[in-house]
C-alpha cells in the first residue's frame, strides 16, 4: 500500500525525479550530507527541550514528558495548490459557523430533515445550557484546525474538524523558527509565506469579536487549566507572543454579569477570553458542579453579551465524530454548493448495513470511537493483530453506535530523515483558520505530522508521530523580494507583501 502513495516531493512516479517545482528541495537533500541534517535536527530538538515544548503521554503509569520528534525535511505546498485548498477550507469553516448558529438557534437544518434530529438532540456535545445564547458577532468557531490527508496533488480529504480548542499552532511557529535558523538556504531557494504573524492575526481576531462597546482596545486574555495541562507550553507561548495575560480560573471573577481579572492594582474588566479549558470546566454553576477550574458566573456574563469566549461553549457538536459523516450535507446546506473538500468515506456503524460491511472488512478499515481522540480507541485494520481485530469486533457488536469506520487511504508521503537516511514517510496536515467579525482567514502554514515508523499511518504524537515544518510557497506574482530573514534573530518577515 505504501508503495502506491503519492510522494509530495517526488510525485507519483517515485524514481523518475522530483516534481519540477520542487527539484530544488531534492537537490538540497542530495547536497546536504545526512550527518549534517541529523546535526541540525538534533540542534532543533535540543532547543525544543530547553523551551519546554513537551507533552504528557496519557495512559502511561508515570506522567512522562516528551518532546515531539522534529523532522528537518520540510513539506512544501505550491502556491496554486494552496489557493485551491484554502477555498475548500474557508467553505468548510464558514459552514461550521453557520451550523453552530443554526443548531443553537432556529435549528433549520433539523426542521428541513437534512440531519436526523436524534443525532443532534441526543448528542452529549449538544449543550442545551447554551441554546439560545448569541455570541458576540455570531462567531462560534473562531479558531479551527482542520485535519487533512492527501492522496494526490489536489486530492485532499478532511479527516477531522477541530472546532473546540485545537492545539498545535506553537509547533507550527517553533518549527518555522528552527528551520529559519538551521536551514536558511532553503528560504533563499523558496519564497515561503511567513507564519510568524499568527499571534498578531489571533489577537486581531480576538479584538474583532469583542462585545460592542468595549472601545478600541478590548482587554483580551488566555485562560489555561494550568501548568499540568499537556498543552500548557502553547498557552503560555501564545499569551506571551500576543502580549496579553495568561490567566487561570482563580484569577477571574464575575460580578454583576461582568468578568474581571484580579490584578495587584485591583479588578480589571475582561472583554475577550481565549479559553483552552473544556466546556465542562468553564462554569461550575452551569456545567460540572465539581469543577475547580471554572469561573462561577462566566456563562451568565457570556449570555448577557458582556464577554466573548473563543471558541464558543457548545462547539463540540460541530466536530463530533458522529456528525463528521454528515459534513458534506452540512456544507451543502449552508453554502448552497457542493463541498470543495471531501470527507473520507465513512461507514456509520449505527446503521445496520454499514455495521455488517465493517464487520466483514475489519482487516481493511480504520475503526474509530466517535467519542475518542488522540489515536486511542482506534483500530488500523491492515496493521492490526488478529487479537486486536477480534477485540474490536466484540466492541462493535456490543456498542455499534459508538463507532465509525473508514477505508485506509494511501496517505501521501514526504521524504523524512530516518536512521537509514532520507526515506518517504506518511504525513497528515492540520491547517489553522481564524474567524473574526470580518470573515475567515487561512494561516499560510500549519502542522504537518509524520508517522516516523516505516509504513505506519498513525501520526498522533502519543503514538510515535513527529512533526515537520510546512512551507506554503508565495505565488509568482507576489510583489516584493519575497522573504527577508532577520539575521540571527528569532523572527522572519515578509519583504514586500502579498499582491
Amino acid at each position: 500500500m505504501g508503495t502506491q502513495a503519492f510522494d509530495e516531493i517526488m510525485g507519483a512516479g517515485g524514481q523518475d525525479g522530483a516534481r519540477p517545482e520542487l527539484a530544488d528541495l531534492c537537490r538540497w537533500l542530495d547536497e546536504t550530507p545526512p550527518d549534517e541534517l541529523r546535526r541540525r535536527q538534533h540542534s532543533a530538538e535540543t532547543t525544543f527541550r530547553q523551551l519546554g515544548i513537551t507533552f504528557a503521554v496519557y495512559g502511561e503509569s508515570e506522567a512522562s514528558e516528551r518532546i515531539i520528534p522534529f523532522d528537518i525535511v520540510p513539506r512544501i505546498f505550491l502556491a496554486d495548490e494552496w489557493e485551491r485548498l484554502s477555498a475548500g477550507l474557508i467553505q468548510r469553516v464558514e459552514a461550521i459557523n453557520a451550523f453552530l448558529v443554526d443548531i443553537y438557534g432556529e435549528r433549520r437544518i433539523l426542521k428541513e430533515g437534512v440531519l436526523p434530529a436524534d443525532l443532534i438532540l441526543g448528542n452529549p456535545q449538544f449543550r442545551p445550557e447554551v441554546a439560545g445564547i448569541r455570541p458576540p458577532h455570531d462567531v462560534w468557531a473562531h479558531i479551527c484546525g482542520i485535519d487533512l490527508v492527501r492522496t494526490g496533488p489536489d486530492e485532499f480529504f478532511v479527516l477531522e474538524d477541530n472546532a473546540r480548542t485545537p492545539s498545535g499552532v506553537s509547533y507550527m511557529l517553533e518549527n518555522r523558527e528552527a528551520m529559519v535558523r538551521l536551514c536558511p538556504e532553503l528560504f533563499a531557494k523558496f519564497r515561503v509565506a511567513a507564519v510568524d504573524s499568527y499571534p498578531d492575526m489571533l489577537l486581531e481576531t480576538m479584538k474583532s469579536v469583542a462585545p460592542r462597546g468595549c472601545g478600541q482596545n478590548p482587554n483580551c486574555v488566555v485562560l489555561t487549566p494550568g501548568h499540568y495541562n499537556s498543552a500548557y507550553y502553547e498557552h503560555s507561548f501564545l499569551a506571551d507572543s500576543m502580549g496579553i495575560e495568561l490567566v487561570e480560573a482563580a484569577d477571574l471573577v464575575v460580578d454583576d454579569d461582568v468578568v474581571f481579572m484580579r490584578t495587584i492594582a485591583g479588578r480589571v474588566k475582561v472583554d475577550v477570553i481565549y479559553r483552552r479549558v473544556d466546556d465542562d470546566f468553564l462554569d461550575p454553576l452551569v456545567f460540572r458542579p465539581d469543577s475547580m477550574l471554572g469561573v462561577p458566573g462566566l456563562i451568565a456574563a457570556y449570555a448577557a453579551g458582556n464577554v466573548a469566549i473563543l471558541n464558543a461553549p457548545g462547539n463540540g457538536i460541530a466536530d463530533d465524530k458522529a456528525i463528521y459523516s454528515y459534513m458534506p450535507e452540512i456544507v451543502k446546506f449552508y453554502s448552497g454548493g457542493a463541498p470543495t473538500l471531501p470527507n473520507v468515506e465513512t461507514y456509520r456503524c449505527r446503521e445496520p448495513d454499514a455495521l455488517r460491511y465493517v464487520l466483514d472488512h475489519l482487516d481493511e478499515l480504520v475503526v474509530k470511537l466517535v467519542d475518542g481522540s488522540g489515536g486511542y480507541g482506534m483500530l488500523v485494520g491492515p496493521t492490526a493483530s488478529r487479537a486486536e481485530i477480534e477485540r474490536f469486533r466484540a466492541a462493535l457488536i456490543a456498542e455499534p453506535h459508538r463507532y465509525i469506520a473508514q477505508p485506509t487511504l494511501a496517505l501521501s508521503t514526504v521524504p523524512t530523515l530516518v536512521e537509514q537516511g532520507v526515506a518517504p514517510r506518511h504525513v497528515d496536515f492540520r491547517p489553522f483558520l481564524l474567524t473574526g467579525s470580518r470573515g475567515v482567514q487561512v494561516v499560510p502554514g500549519g502542522l504537518t505530522r509524520v508517522a516516523l515508523r516505516e509504513g505506519s499511518l498513525v501520526v498522533n504524537s502519543s503514538q510515535g508521530g513527529g512533526t515537520k515544518d510546512s512551507f506554503v510557497l508565495l505565488p509568482e506574482h507576489a510583489r516584493g523580494g519575497g522573504m527577508t530573514q532577520a539575521m540571527g534573530g528569532m523572527t522572519q518577515t515578509i519583504g514586500g507583501g502579498l499582491a
Partner: protein, 265 residues
C-alpha cells in the same frame, strides 16, 4: 386558585466567606394556567441580582455578593394564580424540542432492573397510558420518605429502596419514561398538598405525548399536577433545575436551612 408562596433559604457559614456567586432558579413564568401576580426576591446583604433565561427557558437570577459574609438569606415570596388544566401544559416557553429530553444524565440513567420495571408496568399501553401507569406504579411501590433527598443518589439505587423522596420518585419517573423512548423532564416548583411533609420546594415530572404536548405527572401524589402546583423550572434531572446552584470563596462548612410555606385560597 390563588397560591401564596414564601420560600426562605438561609446559609450559615462556620467561617466568613469572601464572595458568593449563585445561580437561582426561583422565579415562576406565566403559562396559560399559571399567572404570576406578584414575585419578589430579597437578599439580606448587599448583593447584585441579574435576571436571565437559561437554555431550557427557565427564568434565572444571578446573585453576586461580596464578603465577609457569615450568613446569607434569600427570601422569595409572591402570589400565583392557577387554573384547572388536566395536567396538560399550555403556553409554557419551550425553546428546546422534546427530543432533547430523551437523553439521560448520570443519575437518571435507568439500568436493567428499572427499565424492566418500566416495561412491565406499561405493557400494552399507549404512550399516554404508559405515563399514567408509571405514575401510579411508582407511587404504589414506595412509601414516602419525608426527609431530605440524598445528594447524587442514582435512580437505580433509589429503586432498590423501600422509601423514596418526591425528588427520587420524579427522577425514577423520567428515567422510566425515557427508557420507553418517551421524552420526560424533571420539574421543580411548589405545591400546597404537603401531606405533613417537611415543606421544601416540590419536584415532579413532565412527559411528552405526540399530539397532546407536555403533560405533568406527580408520582408523589399519584396524580397530574393541577391548580395546587406552581411550576418554576425544568431540566434533565433535579440537579439541573435546583433552586440554588452556588459557589463560595472561603473556607469552612455551610449549614443550609430551607423553609417553604405555600397556602392556597
Amino acid at each position: 386558585m390563588r397560591l401564596s408562596i414564601d420560600h426562605r433559604t438561609t446559609y450559615r457559614f462556620t467561617k466568613p466567606q469572601g464572595r458568593i456567586v449563585q445561580l437561582l432558579r426561583v422565579t415562576p413564568g406565566n403559562t396559560h394556567d399559571q399567572t404570576v401576580a406578584e414575585w419578589h426576591i430579597s437578599v439580606d446583604c448587599d448583593a447584585r441580582l441579574r435576571e436571565h433565561r437559561d437554555g431550557f427557558g427557565n427564568r434565572t437570577t444571578m446573585l453576586y455578593a461580596e464578603g465577609p459574609l457569615d450568613r446569607l438569606e434569600i427570601a422569595v415570596s409572591g402570589e400565583v394564580v392557577t387554573s384547572h388544566s388536566d395536567g396538560v401544559l399550555h403556553g409554557t416557553f419551550e425553546p428546546l424540542p422534546p427530543a432533547v429530553f430523551l437523553r439521560s444524565t448520570p443519575v437518571t440513567d435507568a439500568g436493567e432492573v428499572l427499565a424492566g420495571f418500566a416495561h412491565r408496568m406499561t405493557e400494552g399501553h399507549s404512550p399516554l397510558g404508559a405515563l399514567h401507569a408509571l405514575n401510579r406504579a411508582l407511587h404504589e411501590r414506595f412509601a414516602l420518605d419525608k426527609g431530605r433527598p440524598e445528594p447524587g443518589l442514582t435512580v437505580d439505587d433509589a429503586f432498590a429502596r423501600d422509601t423514596a423522596t418526591p425528588r427520587d420518585l420524579a427522577q425514577m419517573f423520567v428515567a422510566c419514561a425515557r427508557s420507553l423512548d418517551i421524552p420526560a423532564r424533571y420539574v421543580t416548583g411548589y405545591c400546597d398538598l404537603q401531606d405533613g411533609r417537611r415543606p421544601t420546594p416540590h419536584g415532579w415530572a413532565d412527559g411528552w405525548v405526540e399530539g397532546i404536548g407536555w403533560i405533568g405527572f406527580d408520582p408523589t401524589l399519584a396524580l397530574s399536577p393541577e391548580e395546587h402546583h406552581v411550576r418554576i423550572a425544568v431540566a434533565l434531572d433535579a440537579a439541573g433545575c435546583a433552586p440554588v446552584a452556588g459557589s463560595r470563596l472561603g473556607e469552612g462548612e455551610e449549614c443550609l436551612d430551607v423553609e417553604v410555606r405555600v397556602s392556597g385560597q
